[in-house]
């Protein structure tokens, strides 16, 4: 995360929201044979296991594919990483009822560690005064570069259940059905407890995004209470992942072969109903260059057209070429060239191809799906593609 700002409404006491992006990665290991000086090592015992400490994890089973570099154990992401258009931004938000660890308190106060709160116990606070943190709620909004207003985001709670839905926010009675929970999905936090929520957001625009997280709770003592709120802003830049360039050209029918032309004449004589099927159908070649402009390796999983009525297309890419190539893998900066043949679909019940007043035929959109490290999914589609009819 490039920036963290803390324009807390109540800046006197620090609060806690933590943020992490979600996508673990496989761990790399370098299995090493035992040093020669270890008594167990012998030159001819080739089944000697590697030094256990050189493996990514400990097991007495047989799950580690050593001597291979990758191990099946998963590590949480070390940093936020980069956010790309077409991918899903995921992170976990945590509101914590922080308390000092038993050892941190001066001996006199050690017995009342429960006196802590979302804010640390200040010396001015008499340690005997119990405070409770009730009805803690997290809300998240995303401000995208193109929109003027921030978008309220749905939040997932334990077991992936949607707990905070933008639509349900205004009716107070909505959450009341949830028994022990307070209205609107608030939760009481005992000292040391954490309220965790998960945000998923499909990134569609390049540029500055701001995730605004609001935490509110009711701070209660034995005799009184108050509602407190704080807000944290997380700014990050979403970068482009793919550059798509397209080109459309008319596909002219090949000149008829001498042997064929006779047949064609025959056919034409037989009747006009088959006329549209062969040569009168208009066809175009659509080429697309897909350039990986991210910093990650990506594997294209699906590249296809979503066409307007009255059109159909043939894919001329890796799927028809056969199993030889497999799905293309694009390293940063690499380009994949794709090709489609678009043609009129002139069946009896098919819609007629529409040509707008500028003499332009709109084909539809090109959709590109990809996967990157550990299955991270990405998908984007182009704007409407088409061609001008040359008269």
């Amino acid at each position: 995360m490039s920036h963290q700002r803390y324009p807390s409404i109540d800046p006197k006491e620090p609060h806690s929201v933590s943020l992490k992006v979600l996508r673990p990665s496989l761990v790399v290991q370098h299995p090493l044979p035992t040093p020669v000086s270890l008594p167990t090592a012998s030159a001819h015992n080739y089944q000697e296991p590697p030094i256990p400490a050189s493996l990514a994890y400990h097991t007495n089973g047989d799950t580690n594919p050593d001597p291979f570099l990758l191990a099946p154990i998963l590590q949480l992401p070390p940093s936020f990483g980069s956010a790309y258009v077409g991918e899903t931004f995921s992170c976990t938000l945590c509101a914590n009822h922080d308390v000092p660890l038993p050892g941190e308190l001066p001996p006199a106060a050690a017995g009342v560690s429960a006196s802590g709160n979302l804010a640390p116990t200040s010396p001015a606070n008499p340690p005997t005064k119990r405070k409770f943190t009730r009805d803690v709620r997290i809300e998240a909004e995303m401000k995208t570069p193109g929109s003027s207003a921030a978008l309220k985001l749905p939040l997932l709670g334990a077991n992936g259940v949607v707990v905070e839905h933008p639509d349900s926010n205004n009716n107070n009675d909505n959450g009341a059905a949830k028994g022990h929970n307070h209205a609107k999905g608030g939760m009481d936090l005992e000292p040391g407890d954490t309220l965790q929520r998960i945000v998923n957001f499909d990134l569609k625009e390049e540029g500055n995004h701001v995730l605004a997280v609001t935490v509110s709770y009711y701070e209660a003592t034995e005799t009184s209470g108050r509602t407190r709120t704080f807000r944290k802003l997380y700014q990050f830049i979403c970068k482009g992942s793919l550059i798509v360039r397209t080109k459309v050209g008319a596909l002219l029918p090949p000149p008829p072969l001498p042997s064929e032309s006779d047949d064609l004449l025959e056919e034409k004589k037989k009747g006009g109903e088959r006329k549209g099927k062969g040569r009168d159908r208009r066809r175009w070649v659509m080429e697309a260059q897909l350039e990986n402009c991210s910093e990650d390796v990506m594997q294209l999983s699906r590249v296809g057209l979503d066409l307007e009525p009255g059109l159909r297309y043939q894919d001329c890419n890796w799927e028809v070429v056969g199993s030889g190539g497999g799905r293309p893998v694009l390293h940063p900066g690499e380009v994949e060239q794709c090709c489609f043949v678009v043609e009129e679909d002139l069946g009896p019940n098919k819609a007629k191809l529409e040509v707008d007043e500028d003499g332009r035929i709109v084909f539809g959109v090109l959709g590109i799906g990809w996967r990157s490290e550990m299955g991270n999914k990405g998908f984007l589609s182009t704007g409407k593609l088409g061609t001008r009819i040359v008269k």
């Binding site: 030094i51 799950t63 990758l70 945590c94 965790q196």
Partner: protein, 444 residues
């Protein structure tokens, strides 16, 4: 002849066998490549490498044979103190630095290794190599090495480099490995027998470290192929001599080199190339295997997952190719890659109970289960799972890293929690699994 006929005749031609340099040639025919050993020894007489001979003085060369009957070579260029880096104790958390927990300076290196004191072992190895013991006691434990005692020099050097890798100081190891210069040089061959004086393990490790040290990852792939060529020559030789165990040893080494090439390609970020390469490594009809059944299948599946192709990963272990456990593990990982954390969580839980019924304790299952718990919004359970693994004695970097990441998520006071965790791990009994941890393990 029509086109169709031409095609049919091409298609019906049996595919010719493709054997690469990483395959074993089963026919005991002499390799077209002249024996590596004779080639090396002849070239050595012809042109001794000047770069390597700078440590040799003519005097030491002439006097050496009387001291060491095995070889007259002087390896004092590997004993120069300036090669070796100082290891700062500041990179380890305070609980591990406590004098009562650190081994005594006179502890022999094998004991240090057996108790996971890899940093101390790395230091002791260098004290012996550079004849710079810190005290009389450690001098007795790690006696200085003679410049012509190549067996002990390489043993110490291997220990040093391995231990640096184990304490997360691979970049230092890479710098130090440069002192070995060209390990394929004829200088490293026994002038009488032509045998390579450097142990195989050190040569293999040297490939990766030198590739890092010289900043040329491609060099690793090339150097592994060089070693593979030698292994094939040795297999042929052993086959001719009907020396079955030697032949098996070299076949195993060759198979390992094949997997290491794939690893080197992954480290070069050539994932597609690595996948292609792994696909060519045979595990069915070859007379040798690396590890048990399905390890190659598992390796392939993990590589596809790393690349993001979940379907290809599942295919690699389907139909029993990866063994029952391998298939179930890849299945659960693939669910996670698809974002199906809830389904994956159930699968990890089932795997865990199956394994426990069979008396298997697997840290990976526990860690991945906890990652799923975090991703399904159950961080408290996730943290408890990982704490449980630490209590059971597991302490891999990944486990500690994930747990400390969760500390960061669930409190602002994570520094204290991390130090506490370090204290808990430091109080464990030292084992060969490694005892001393670094600050990076605890994100300190």
């Amino acid at each position: 002849m029509s086109f169709a006929n031409v095609f049919r005749s091409i298609a019906s031609r049996p595919r010719s066998a493709t054997k690469g340099p990483l395959d074993v040639d089963e026919a005991p025919v002499a390799s077209p490549i002249p024996s590596q050993a004779s080639r090396f020894s002849s070239s050595q007489q012809a042109s001794p490498r000047t770069s390597l001979s700078r440590g040799l003085s003519p005097a030491s060369r002439s006097s050496a044979p009387s001291i060491a009957p095995v070889t007259s070579k002087d390896f004092s260029f590997l004993l120069r103190p300036e090669i070796y880096h100082q290891l700062s104790p500041l990179s380890i958390p305070p609980p591990f630095r406590h004098p009562s927990r650190q081994p005594a300076p006179e502890t022999p290196i094998p004991d240090l290794l057996n108790h996971g004191h890899f940093r101390s072992a790395a230091i002791a190895a260098v004290q012996a190599l550079t004849s710079s013991p810190v005290s009389a006691l450690s001098a007795a434990a790690h006696p200085p090495v003679s410049p012509t005692d190549h067996v002990r020099i390489f043993e110490l050097l291997y220990t040093r480099l391995v231990c640096l890798c184990l304490i997360d100081a691979t970049s230092l190891a890479a710098q130090e490995s440069k002192a070995l210069e060209d390990l394929n040089s004829a200088f490293y061959l026994d002038p009488l027998t032509g045998a390579h004086l450097v142990p195989w393990e050190l040569r293999v490790l040297g490939v990766r470290l030198q590739a890092i040290g010289f900043g040329d990852p491609r060099r690793a792939v090339m150097s592994y192929y060089e070693l593979a060529r030698e292994a094939r020559v040795e297999i042929a030789k052993a086959g001719k001599a009907h020396d079955h165990s030697t032949s098996e040893l070299w076949k195993h080494r060759l198979a390992e080199l094949g997997v290491k090439v794939a690893g080197a390609l992954v480290e070069m970020d050539d994932l597609a190339g690595a996948a292609e390469h792994l696909a060519t490594l045979g595990d069915g009809n070859q007379p040798f295997k690396v590890g048990g059944d399905g390890r190659l299948a598992m390796s392939r599946a993990l590589l596809w997952l790393h690349l993001g192709d979940v379907e290809a990963a599942r295919l690699c272990v389907s139909d029993g190719k990866g063994g029952e456990m391998g298939e179930r593990i890849v299945d659960a990982l693939a669910d996670m890659a698809d974002g199906e954390y809830k389904t994956a969580l159930e699968k990890w839980q089932e795997l865990k109970s199956t394994m426990e019924e069979n008396g298997v304790h697997d840290e990976m299952i526990g860690v991945n289960l906890a990652v799923c718990q975090l991703y399904t919004g159950n961080m408290t359970e996730a943290r408890d799972s990982l704490e449980g693994l630490v209590d059971e004695g597991s302490a891999s970097h990944t486990l500690l890293f994930n747990l400390t990441t969760m500390y960061e998520l669930c409190t602002d006071r994570h520094k204290n929690l991390k130090l506490r965790l370090a204290e808990r791990v430091a109080s464990k009994q030292p084992t060969p699994l490694g005892w001393e941890k670094t600050n990076a393990d605890f994100k300190l």
